[in-house]
Amino acid sequence: MANVRLIARLDIKGPNLIKGVHLEGLRVMGDPQEFARRYYEQGADELIYMDIVASLYGRSMLTEIVRRAAHDVFVPMTVGGGVRNVDDVRDLLRAGADKVAINTAAVRRPDLITEVARRFGSQCMVLSIEAKQQAPGKWEVYTDCGRERSGIDAIEWARSGVQLGAGEILVTSIDREGTRKGFDVELTRGIASAVSVPVIASGGYGEPQHLLDVIRDGAADAVAFADALHYGRTTIAKLREQALSAGINVRRL
């Protein structure tokens, strides 16, 4: 098995790092650059930037934030939020992003996934799926920062997204996001077993056991952490140690 990646996720609104619960109730945390630098120094395997209201309000400051980050951060960066077309992708890659994550625009026009994969390679095209549970074993895709229902089944959407060219799936459980109750292991496993590409689990970390659960039972290839890092309840270095001592393959530093 490949090394499981430990990812720091930074949700952005305007110029600020913010943190919410269920993608709502946003609180300003500070300058994203300071946090990004700290996570890089702690040994994060990757960073994810998400402009979480960009799909509602359009144009964002994300490109500038990414360009500043690329100045100090020398690990891969995935960037999403408000990415609508191939030109947006090009601009973000030029600013130093390695991959883009697309949710709303891909739900509205699935061909965008294929266009991005053809032009920049499928390794650049991360399909971001934000989902809420509807019934046992059933999750619905939400768009526009968790506000709009799509009527689409999350596992089916993951499968067709990969057929269209997505090279990775970022799964965010809206139910668990910011709750510290643990990742949605069933949702993660449902998607991981439906697709052949890596799956990143996001939303819900509260304690070390949650990390082990989502890797062992959820079959996650990578795990994203947000407020637990922002509030200093844990660090990437501690998470790495905990994973290693539980026998999980992660990058050794």
């Binding site: 690329a70 020398f74 690990v75 030029r94 390695d98 590409v197 990058r251």
Partner: protein
């Protein structure tokens, strides 16, 4: 330490330039033949398809200058697609000629593990560097790099040098040994992205600048 990064119209060059600067490099981004030939250190970056990369070099008249630079004895580093283009030929989407600076072929990363299980392609993520058979790192860009150091890779194809003596470091993917760093004299290639491999990657770039 002055270093020229070859700009041939593909990929994001910002990260590689920034990483070289962080290592003390004075970076010039150039698509100019005479500047490239006269460079004290040369980096050939690249992401994307092999044929697009070679076409980018050709359209700008940069194939001969890079080849001539390589015979000068000054250090050349090819990164990712840049490493693959150092080889003689690639089988990616047909058969395409490379720069021929390190004889070898670019072939697909196996999509099955050595025990027959399906494995994910592209090979993406952090993987450990192990010395290739018989390779010594002591006088190479890996001089200060501990064995097993994890580096970041994103690729679907890899180089198989004709002369196994040109392999410097491998990584293991599904039980297969994949050439991850190759070299022939001052011409070095790394399949991984040192500019995205954290502090370990920066140390490798710094070593290159000091070579």
């Amino acid at each position: 330490m002055r270093v020229t990064v070859v700009d041939y119209g593909i990929g994001n060059l910002y990260s590689v330039c920034r990483a070289l600067e962080r290592c003390g490099g004075e970076v010039t981004l150039s698509g100019d033949a005479s500047q490239i030939e006269a460079a004290p250190h040369l980096v050939l970056p690249g992401v994307g398809a092999f044929s697009d990369g070679m076409r980018g070099l050709q359209e700008r008249g940069l194939i001969d200058p890079v080849q001539r630079y390589a015979t000068s004895g000054r250090p050349l580093l090819g990164i990712c697609l840049g490493m693959q283009m150092l080889a003689s030929v690639s089988e990616e989407f047909g058969c395409h000629e490379g720069l021929g600076l390190i004889p070898g072929q670019v072939v697909a990363v196996p999509n099955k593990t050595t025990d027959g299980q399906a494995q994910k392609i592209p090979h993406i993520g952090w993987n450990g560097l192990v010395p290739a058979a018989g390779a010594l790192w002591g006088d190479s860009i890996l001089k200060e790099t501990p064995e097993g150091t994890a580096v970041y890779l994103v690729h679907s194809y890899s180089v198989v040098p004709d002369d196994p003596g040109h392999r410097l470091a491998d990584c293991l993917y599904g039980g297969h040994r994949i050439a991850t760093a190759i070299r022939r004299g001052p011409v070095v290639g790394c399949q991984f992205h040192p500019e995205k491999s954290g502090e370990a990657g920066l140390a490798i770039l710094a070593q290159f600048l000091n070579s």
